[in-house]
Amino acid sequence: MTNHLLSLIVFAPAVAAMLICVSLTMPMQKAARDNLARFLALAASFIALLGGLWLWVAYDGTASGLQFTERATWIRSLGIEYSVGVDGISVSMVILSTLISFVATIASMPWWKRADEHSDPAHPHFSEVKVPGYMVMLLILQTGMSGTFASLDMFLFFVFWEVMLLPMYFLIGIWGGPRKEYAAIKFFLYTLAGSVLLLLAVIALYYKSGDPVLLARLSQLNPELFRKLLSDGTLFRGPSGAVGFHLGDGSFTPHTFDMVVLARLGQAGLFDLVGPFLAGVTFAKLMWVFMFIAFAVKVPLVPLHTWLPDAHVEAPTPISVILAGVLLKMGIYGMLRFNWAILPSATSAFAALVAAFGVVNVVYAAMVCLAQRDLKKLIAYSSVSHMGFSLLGMAAMTEAGMSGAVLNLFTHGLISPMLFLIVGVIYDRAHHREIEGFGGIAQVVPEYTAVMGLAFFASLGLPGLAGFVSEFLVLNGSFMTLPWHTALAATSAIITVAYYLWTIQRMFLGSLNPKYSHLPDLNWRERLTLYPLAALTLLFGFYPNVMLSLINADLFRLLRQVKGA
């Protein structure tokens, strides 16, 4: 089982999606069909979650390098493989995506709904509409997410990346709010525009990887390194004497999509040997920019961020949960995997710029939060703000900054789903999200208020909760090299407190708005989704080492390679 753990995690949801499709061909009552789809989705994401937890337990943090690898040749003529595996950078993300997917699946269930919850038959709750289709989309999305994080082959990565995009489009566009079409198309086009650049870069890197002229120059310039690359299995001499690569099954290929091999070549400086284009822009820098833009859309980087608030506002709660919890992380993850690992020299050159972007993200988005009236939009912008910390941390080129950046992905992946679930709770009851439209509801929903408080305080970085650790590490690490950037970014800690506490004050404190004197408190479905996340937030507040010990070794290695470039 351990040999195919990642495949299990990735494809269990896809199998369930297929089963649901099969069930559609069978004659069944609508209710039975809906329930079957729900059950299959829940079962598959639970299996994936178990896989994720097993991965957490079984992953050896002391041994650096790839673990749980699987390789199989897919398209031999192009050297494309089905190659998956996790290292310190991706392991936390795979675990996170299984966890958040499961939470989102529970949140998609109509369980314990109250009679008055979906009173309007003209606007039924998303969990009751076209259920099999919804579940199929959700499951494909899950496959796409864990696949993206587990891929070690650039082509496979790109396939999963795109696989993820389509269900997201439909989930927002069909099950979303009033402006769902606008939001869905905006999300789709924005990401797709980035993907095109990514595809260009992927193909370019593929062809340059086996460029005989480049390889010859490398062997001339640094014969020792070249010999090392030959001996450690990065490069192979083919049957005709040409230098190329081996696939997993031992066959020869002149070019490679293998991300690990590409990273080694990149760190050896292969891509820096391509001559400059126009005006001194080198190949490496151009590819770096292409990939950076592609991933920056996902982060999202200000000013490429405006799709996010729209998508969040229109998406149904579980989709927002996935969007904030997992999808945003792919931007940072992709940057580390591609920009940082494959093009370290360009990364060094652009690090200051990335840091500046990170600071803008942090401060600008926090300022925008302060002016929001829609609770969900506020949370969406706070995500933009928090992702900026990761950019700052990884651009600082220090161990603490790097650790903090990746841990921030995980902790934000725990906290922001909680925040969106909290928004969902109030939206399901009040059918609006205007902050000013509430008032004093702490009196009627104490449990909800308590959980909300925990999530808000976790997000504003209260020590003892997960958000603090990553923020502290990022700021501490980045201060060592970028003191002024850090000082500026740290001001957001004040703004963040201001907008969260102000929101609490306006919604929950003061005299009760009589409209909501009968607001029901949390139900068990909501508890099932919120409490595990809350517990993890506390655990990571006091003992973040359970995750840091998995990610640090590989991150520091990556850091040294980038700094050595």
Partner: protein, 820 residues
């Protein structure tokens, strides 16, 4: 005085342990060279914060149900039990600590490593040294008393469980703050107490003003935390780099290294060590393998590879650290050279240590309510009165003072930072006292008094008199808790009335409250009958004697003068509050508040509070007396118990501060003491003349004569309004601008791009439709039209065909003829 000295000796002997007192002659230990802080590993310190934590969790999770099912006494007893258990454990730790040799008094309890990333290593480790021991005893003892008091005070509140859960959570956080052995754990507590303060100020959250006060407190504290964290990072940066681990050298370390690489880390006692660029530490140095780096880290957090030898054979780890002990060791042990390195470093042209000290102190100004971030504390009086006593007087607000004392070895290195602290303290003390003169709300008077007294503490720790500042912290904890709880008792007795103008004559109705309040007033105003005199006078004397500890030796005298005037003010406004409240005739409206008040059955007259409250008051008053003996001092070289007790903690800064002092003679000290006593009596006499029995008309006349001045002071110099109009307005405008920019410019650009895209597509579509497709259709239409035209020809009538044939033949003939 003689008798008191005997009692003092007795207490001293008890605190020292019999053998210890004999072993150490006066000041003998101080002469010894500072070594590595020795410590004792113990396994039980975690229990001290654990009990309140459990109490908080249980009450938070099932408290509501417990209270409903079994009544309030279960939840209150649970909380009080947790406090008692914490206090008993703390007492055990105290005994353990006393049993250690004087300079090995440090108990360490390592639980686990919270996170490690490079140099940033934070352990969940508790430590108790004499300073934190003192704090723990204050917190658990006064905390437990205030828990008991709260039972009576909150008797009518339906949310008792929530109140006690918050209180326990507060104590837990406060214990983390003082027991943490590193900055991170201290910061856990630092922000944790901020959270609890937020929760408790806004305890009656249905009142939006109280909720707003809570938000204000937390946000203001965050501003301070911003400074604190930056100070910490700057210090971390300065300790910079991995002196032994050359593999991952931060860029600044590649620029700065000790001038003499051959003796890189040898003893450098002489001042003025210079730093030059060191080629051997450039980033080009080939990195060590990861395994090598990892080898240095051991589970206990010590990195043997990074330790360097001291003169006496011990080992000191140098380099960036978050641990207080490691920081103290590398700065205190001269042979590491860290002290000189730090004093020599600059950050963008600014002396680094001054910057670190000031930034850390910014954190203290928020937490301990100093100018300019004091504004939240007066508003914090919106919380229940026991909260004001525990959090906003006795414990949390003193965290800043504790932090400065804890880092005395650091602050003492920079006279600039010391000057800033002392001057801020003095300014705050005077400023807040002046507002206290005219306030009518009894809690507001006490709040401004607290701000003012905290200013005194900062004068103390600012001029290097760490023990005196800390002693004032301790005495203040007792007398101010007693005053606040006394005011709470009064407020409860007067049916939730806080305005002193509606009190008066309460002596008759609340005899025990009156007596304790009287004694606490004696303490705070500095009569030499209670603890306040001893601590305040020591601070003033040390300020006078500060000499070169401040940027200018004359500054110490100025600060003394400010403090002296403030002491006069303190005596005045405290006695004013006493006379307004307890003497004269009761001025409250009879039964005015009966409607919403469960006390209605008392017929509206004030009444004494239940015994659970008054006995707490009595206990605190007794504490005010007993704590005299901790700080009893005399100019003739009599050493106070507390100074001796804290000596191991303060030793690293002791010699430095003492060397810079002005060393005024004992005559000056006696004179100043007399002056202190004089102002105490002066303030009392003035207040008595003006406010006793509410007979004098002078206050009203004065207020009427200078209405604008009176209004100005009464409205706290409009500082809040100024902040609102400047800082808050600017932030709000910025937020609005960013939001507008986001919607109009950024999203506008996206939508414009989309519109352009659609326009291009439309044009494209139009071209496709009309030009390309048009051409195709034209051809098709042409063929079709031609066919249609041709169809007409085919009529099917023979004569038409015949005409056509004849016409054709004719045409052919004609054509042939023409061509030829």
């Amino acid at each position: 005085m003689d008798l008191l000295c005997h009692v003092r000796d007795f207490v001293l002997a008890a605190a020292e342990g019999a053998g210890e007192a004999a072993k150490h002659g006066e000041g003998a230990a101080r002469e010894a060279a500072l070594g590595v802080q020795a410590f004792k590993r113990v396994g039980y310190l975690w229990l001290i914060p654990f009990f309140p934590m459990v109490g908080a969790i249980v009450n938070a999770v099932v408290g509501a149900r417990l209270q409903k099912r079994f009544g309030k006494s279960v939840v209150t007893n649970l909380a009080i039990g947790a406090m008692a258990a914490a206090f008993v454990t703390a007492a055990v730790a105290f005994v353990d600590l006393v049993g250690q040799p004087e300079h090995e008094r440090l108990l360490v309890n390592h639980l686990w490593n919270m996170f490690t990333a490079g140099d940033v290593q934070a352990n969940l480790t508790f430590a108790l040294d004499p300073l934190s021991m003192m704090m723990v005893l204050i917190i658990t003892f006064i905390g437990a008393l205030i828990h008991v008091y709260s039972v009576g005070y909150m008797a009518e509140d339906p949310d008792t469980w929530r109140f006690f859960a918050y209180l326990n959570l507060f104590v837990f956080s406060m214990l983390l703050l003082v027991m943490g052995d590193n900055f991170v754990l201290m910061f856990f507590g630092w922000e944790g107490v901020g959270l609890c303060s937020y929760l408790l100020i806004g305890f009656w959250y249905k009142d939006i003003d109280k909720a707003k006060a809570a938000v204000k407190a937390f946000v203001t504290n965050r501003i301070g935390d911003f400074g604190f964290v930056l100070g910490l990072f700057l210090l971390f940066w300065a300790l910079g780099g991995q002196w032994e681990k050359r593999s991952v050298i931060p860029p600044h370390e590649s620029r700065w290294a000790l001038a003499d690489p051959a003796h890189l880390y040898e003893a450098r006692a002489e001042a003025g060590t210079t730093y030059v660029a060191d080629p051997t530490l450039s980033p080009q140095t080939p990195p060590a393998t990861y395994a090598e780096v990892e080898k240095l880290a051991t589970p206990e957090g010590w990195r043997p590879g990074a330790s360097i030898a001291t003169r006496d054979g011990g080992k000191v780890r140098v380099g960036p650290t978050l641990s207080f002990r490691e920081l103290r060791d590398q700065i205190a042990v001269e042979s590491t050279g860290v002290k000189n390195r730090l004093t020599g470093l600059t950050f963008f042209g600014m002396p680094l240590l001054a910057l670190v000290g000031i930034l850390l102190f910014v954190g203290a100004t928020a937490k301990s309510a100093q100018i300019p971030l004091y504004v939240w504390l007066p508003d914090a009086m919106a919380g229940p009165t026991p909260v004001s006593a525990l959090i906003h007087a006795a414990t949390m607000v003193t965290a800043g003072v504790y932090m400065v004392a804890r880092l005395n070895f650091l602050f003492a290195l920079s006279t600039t930072a010391m000057t800033v602290i002392a001057c801020t303290g003095a300014a705050t003390a005077l400023f807040a006292a002046s507002i206290g003169f005219v306030q009518n709300d009894i809690k507001k008077v006490l709040a401004y008094s607290t701000v003012s007294q905290l200013g005194f503490m900062f004068i103390g720790v600012g001029v290097g008199a760490y023990w005196a500042g800390t002693y004032h912290l301790l005495t203040h904890a007792f007398f101010k808790a007693c005053l606040f709880l006394g005011s709470g008792s009064v407020i409860l007795g007067c049916h939730h009335e806080q305005d002193m103008r509606k009190m008066g004559g309460l002596k008759k109705y609340m005899p025990l409250t009156e007596k304790t309040y009287l004694y606490a007033c004696i303490a705070i105003s500095g009569f030499p009958l209670a603890n306040g005199f001893f601590s305040k006078d020591e601070i003033l004397w040390k300020a006078f004697d500060a000499g070169n500890n401040l940027a200018d030796p004359a500054l110490g005298k100025v600060i003394w003068l400010v403090g002296w005037v403030t002491a006069l003010g303190t005596a005045f406004y405290m006695w004013r509050s006493y006379y307004l409240t307890f003497t004269g005739e009761y001025r409250g409206g009879h039964g005015a508040h009966e409607s919403g008040d469960a006390h209605g059955h008392h017929g509206g007259l004030p009444h004494e509070s239940p015994r659970s409250m008054t006995w707490v008051l009595a206990a605190l008053a007794v504490g005010c007396f007993l704590t005299i003996f901790l700080g009893l001092w005399g100019p003739a070289g009599v050493e106070p118990v507390l100074e001796r007790w804290l000596e191991p903690v303060l030793a690293p800064s002791h010699a430095l501060v003492a060397a810079r002092g002005a060393h005024e003679g004992p005559l000056a000290e006696w004179l100043l003491m007399a002056a202190s006593v004089a102002v105490a009596f002066g303030g009392w006499a003035a207040a008595r003349a003006l406010y006793k029995d509410a007979k004098s008309t002078v206050p009203a006349t004065l207020a009427a004569k200078y209405p604008r001045l009176h209004r100005w002071v009464l409205d706290k110099y409009y500082v809040d309004e100024a902040y609102r109009k400047t800082v808050l307005a600017a932030i709000w405008a910025g937020a609005k601008a960013c939001d507008l920019f986001d919607r109009v410019v950024v999203d506008g650009a996206v939508n414009a791009a989309a519109a352009v895209g659609r326009f291009v597509c439309d044009v494209d579509g139009a071209i496709d439709k009309y030009l390309v497709d048009g051409a195709v259709n034209f051809v098709a239409d042409g063929a079709l039209g031609f066919g249609r035209a041709l169809r007409r020809v085919q009529t099917g009538r023979l004569e038409h065909y015949l005409y056509a044939a004849v016409a054709g033949a004719l045409a052919v003939v004609l054509l042939t003829f023409l061509v030829q």
